[in-house]
Amino acid sequence: MERIPILKMGEFLLVTIQVDMHDRLAMTLQDDLTAQIVKHRAHGVLIDISALEIVDSFIGRMLASIASMARLLDAETVVVGMQPAVAITLVELGLPMRGIRTALDVEKGMTTLRAAIQETGQDGDPGRIH
């Protein structure tokens, strides 16, 4: 079965969405990612959507639920790499991406995550997950 790979990158998990998301794949990602957050005791998740050519309300909702689920598991989520045409379309579509942090690229996303983790009173120590 097709799956979206989840990479452990230091204290964070990195998900790079490179395929056209169909609905079942999106549901599998939610399950896999929440399991990996717990397994690695990760406090941050980066979701790279730079390869996504569209974000419709289904994918937007999936990203928002992943962020909410991750937060319940004590992890912050940052969505990185949204294409400008996707941002323009999302606003016109009327999709409220409230509660989702975004950054332009993975590097900026990691800075955002570290700041977010500190805000919520965690030390963000990379040693803790080993």
Binding site: R24, S57, P84, T89, E92
Partner: protein, 136 residues
């Protein structure tokens, strides 16, 4: 001026993978027409919303992709048809946030905002037909 249909392609919408196929076909047609990236993204996103509605609320149906011309102007008309339960109140269905399912209630209103032309016709018990046009 009357709209002339240059070509038509039809796709079945039966399973969720078909939504991806609709997106790909709309992308291909809009690239072929020379749409800019933002226009491509808007029409593909609108089609994705409507294809999902056809599947989730109409129980599946058909998508017809038409390359159209209105004088010198070229465009893409996409028609979604289902034989499902239909829509009781079209105005309500177009209201953002209104849904009878599990979605966010943005599909119809969002697709309308992303299109230059939008037509919805539905009778309870007699299916739903949504037609959008994006001009180049």
């Amino acid at each position: 001026m009357a709209i002339r249909v240059v070509s038509t392609e039809s796709l079945e919408i039966r399973v969720s993978d078909d939504i991806v196929r609709v997106r790909q076909a709309v992308r291909q047609k809009s690239v072929g027409l020379g749409f800019g990236l933002v226009d491509q993204t808007k029409v593909v996103t609108a089609s994705s919303e409507l294809a999902r509605n056809t599947l989730d609320y109409g129980g599946g149906g058909q998508c017809h992709l038409e390359v159209v011309e209105n004088g010198a102007r070229a465009g893409l008309r996409i028609i979604f048809e289902d034989q499902g339960p239909g829509i009781d109140d079209a105005d309500l269905a177009l209201t953002d946030g209104f849904t009878t399912g599990n979605g966010m209630g943005l599909g119809l209103g969002g697709a309308k905002r992303l299109s230059h032309e939008f037509e919805l016709s539905s009778k309870p018990g007699d299916g739903t037909r949504v037609s959008i046009v994006r001009w180049k």
